[in-house]
């Protein structure tokens, strides 16, 4: 099967080509456009899952853009790759799968959700471009290519956040996000210019072979950490996150969650696979841990006072990102120490990684449910809702699943990942676990409040005519709910076959370099 060799490239080329064609197809009819985007996003999901399967069976996949053959990474007689290489290991592929599910859910949900507005040809095309940008950020193995895809996803999300352009808040949120991500993009560009000037390479694997713990590498790492920390919504620069998550249409917010997680994927890639032990001090892991704890607690404490559903969930996103940052910081602390790595390091990385996958799924589902509430109730304000459980039973059940998963209630996947994080961070310092537990309790309290206000309570007279949301919106939510249930029902299978290989691939710096640069060191 020669097609299987080209899966990494197809993952990126398919949504790009489809996005170029979407405005033309939209000119035919709205129905054709809807079918087209649904087919394409289903196909992208299929391709990404096939890629994950291939990676799990055959090991790390590389794809060399423009070489005579897909696996010739080095030109003859030359030790450094000169072309753009996509490098997909278990970690990349797993993150790409979660992003693919998010875009499938968002596409299907969006068919009805934004149906009554104009400009849908632009909306559909930009959504596909956002998909392509996110996939590119996750899958690429080249530093400058990462910058390009970062910009694709940023530009597409600026447009999509401002989709309701007659609402001043939307445009404002878009502008805010634009400032943050342009700043971040310039920091990334300066950082990779330093890498180019110091080492003369732009390939990630070549860089991971060459990197030395000197001043330039440290400055580059700080720049990249600051930039990607901004993009994934860590505490000091989290302000854009609740704004843009709340103001974007719900179908877009799902994808924005996946995009911000793509930044986190690359952040982990930099810390573990590229730098590894060359970080050279404990300051970076501790900075990650402190940032994570602040985000965890700060996000959730700001969330409990919110009255807008999606804004509340946006602050919860800040808190959830904190869990992952803390876990990855703990994993980074254990790097280079084999005993500590076995003891708690690998568990921390697996926990953070598993939490990232879970987060994309349940947070996406929560945002879709919030969008459904907004769709039927015509209001974002939690105080104006009430008694909707009887009117929309399916949505309320789906919301319950997602809320239980985010609060870490036992049968659900959020419980497993949070448990892994608690256990591993306890080994470093008990106070970290206390912070994580308190944040988790507050999350539970906050979502109990949301569920009780919106779905339970007395029925309101103005909601007498409210019906369940249309079937395609339910289908979009069901995609994510099914994924959550699968992960919840087979926890040990998930951890052993999906998460553990991904975590091992992430922390194994030597094999990341070897996949492109060859075995000899």
């Amino acid at each position: 099967m020669k097609l299987m060799n080209h899966l990494p490239a197809l993952t990126l080329a398919l949504p790009l080509l489809a996005a170029f064609a979407t405005p033309l197809i939209a000119a035919v009819s709205a129905k054709a456009r809807n079918r087209w985007v649904t087919c394409v996003s289903a196909l992208v999901t299929l391709v990404v899952f096939a890629l994950l399967h291939r990676v799990l069976v055959h090991g790390t996949q590389i794809y060399v853009m423009g070489a005579p053959s897909w696996n010739i990474s080095l030109p003859s007689g030359f030790a450094i790759p000169v072309r753009i290489i996509l490098e997909v290991d278990a970690f990349n592929a797993l993150a790409a799968c979660a992003a693919a599910l998010a875009q499938l859910a968002g596409t299907i949900y969006g068919l009805k959700f934004v149906k009554k507005f104009t400009g849908l040809e632009f909306y559909s095309a930009l959504f596909l471009l956002l998909t392509a940008g996110t996939m590119g950020m996750i899958l690429t193995g080249d530093l400058f290519n990462f910058f390009v895809f970062l910009e694709i996803s940023s530009v597409a999300s600026f447009g999509l956040i401002a989709f309701w352009r007659d609402r001043p808040e939307s445009v404002e949120a878009s502008y805010k996000y634009m400032l943050v991500s342009q700043l971040a993009a310039q920091l990334v560009l300066i950082g990779l210019a330093f890498i180019y000037g110091r080492y003369g390479v732009l390939n990630m694997a070549a860089f991971s072979r060459a990197v030395q713990p000197d001043l330039i590498s440290k400055v580059v790492l700080v720049f990249i950490l600051v930039a990607l920390g901004m993009k994934c919504g860590a505490f000091p620069m989290h302000m854009w996150m609740p704004d843009s998550y709340a103001e974007a249409p719900a179908s877009v917010t799902v994808m924005l969650v996946a995009t911000s997680q793509a930044s986190l994927v690359v952040l982990c890639r930099f810390c573990f696979s590229l730098y590894g032990t060359a970080i050279g001090s404990a300051a970076v892991p501790w900075a990650l841990i402190v940032m994570g704890c602040l985000s965890m607690f700060g996000g959730v404490s700001m969330a409990v006072v919110q009255h807008e559903v999606k804004r509340l969930m946006g602050y919860h996103s800040v808190s959830q990102v904190g869990y992952m940052l803390t876990a990855f910081g703990v994993g980074l602390l254990a790097l280079g120490d084999a005993a500590a790595m076995n003891d708690y390091g690998l568990a921390a990385v697996s926990g953070g990684l598993y939490h990232m996958i879970n987060y994309i799924l349940y947070k996406g589902l929560l945002f879709l449910c919030a969008g459904a509430l907004y769709y039927v109730a015509g209001s974002r304000d939690l105080d104006k809702m009430g008694g909707l459980a009887r009117r929309m039973p399916v949505t309320s059940v789906l919301f319950l699943i997602a809320a239980a998963a985010i609060s870490g209630l036992p049968p659900f996947n959020g419980f497993v990942s949070k448990w892994m994080i608690y256990e591993s961070v306890y080994a470093v310092h008990p106070i970290l676990m206390v912070v994580a537990l308190v944040s988790s309790v507050l999350t539970l309290a906050s979502f109990v409040k949301v569920y009780q206000t919106a779905f339970l309570g007395p029925e309101r007279s103005q909601f007498a005519a409210v019906r369940e949301v249309p079937k395609s919106m339910i289908a979009g939510m069901a995609v994510l709910a099914a994924a959550i249930l699968v992960l919840s029902l087979f926890p040990s299978w998930t951890v052993n076959t999906l998460v553990r290989p991904a975590a091992e691939a992430l922390v194994d710096k030597a094999s990341y370099g070897a996949a492109v640069m060859g075995g000899a060191l």
Partner: protein, 171 residues
């Protein structure tokens, strides 16, 4: 409503720019086509071609240009360029999937130059993609110019059908 349209410049400026703008397009086309042998390339040439519209807007004024301009031409340019570009990239895959995406399938090595037909671009997809990107950038930049220019001419929020797309709020 105030008159937000751009006024035309004097007749001397208009006549001079009328002629000059076409030379600009010719120069842009030159830069695009010779991208693989001289400094320049698709983006630079495309940007030069797109200045045609900027010049026209400044000198001729908005009323003249919006009456005379056909946006569909630029849309055709944009999509033609995009599909040519990614099409050349996908052609690298080949029928049997033997190559890779973005493979330079048409390149000729320097010592075999004598064997190919004179019309064949020796640098292969470099020259072809140069032209594709030139067409695309011409269309894209001109469309951005036209769209932003129209937007300046739009009135306040209530005019021109704006002001209604605020989401699902029922006020």
């Amino acid at each position: 409503m105030k008159n937000r349209s751009m006024r035309p410049l004097s007749v001397i400026a208009r006549t001079a720019c009328d002629m000059y703008a076409w030379f600009m397009v010719a120069f842009g086309a030159y830069v695009i086509v010779h991208g693989d042998i001289t400094p320049g390339g698709g983006f630079q040439g495309g940007a030069i071609c797109a200045t045609f519209l900027a010049l026209m807007l400044v000198t001729q004024g908005s009323a003249y240009v919006s009456a005379w301009l056909n946006e569909n031409f630029y849309k055709v340019c944009l999509f033609l360029g995009l599909f040519m570009f990614i099409g050349f990239g996908l052609m690298g895959l080949g029928w049997a999937m033997d190559g890779t995406l973005m493979l330079n399938w048409a390149a000729v090595a320097h010592d075999q130059l004598a064997e190919v037909k004179p019309w064949w671009p020796p640098s292969g997809t470099v020259a072809l993609m140069d032209i594709a990107v030139g067409i695309e950038v011409t269309g894209g930049l001109s469309l951005i110019l036209v769209t932003m220019f129209r937007a300046i001419r739009l009135g306040t929020v209530q005019e021109d059908g704006m002001g209604k797309e605020t989401g699902h709020d029922q006020r």
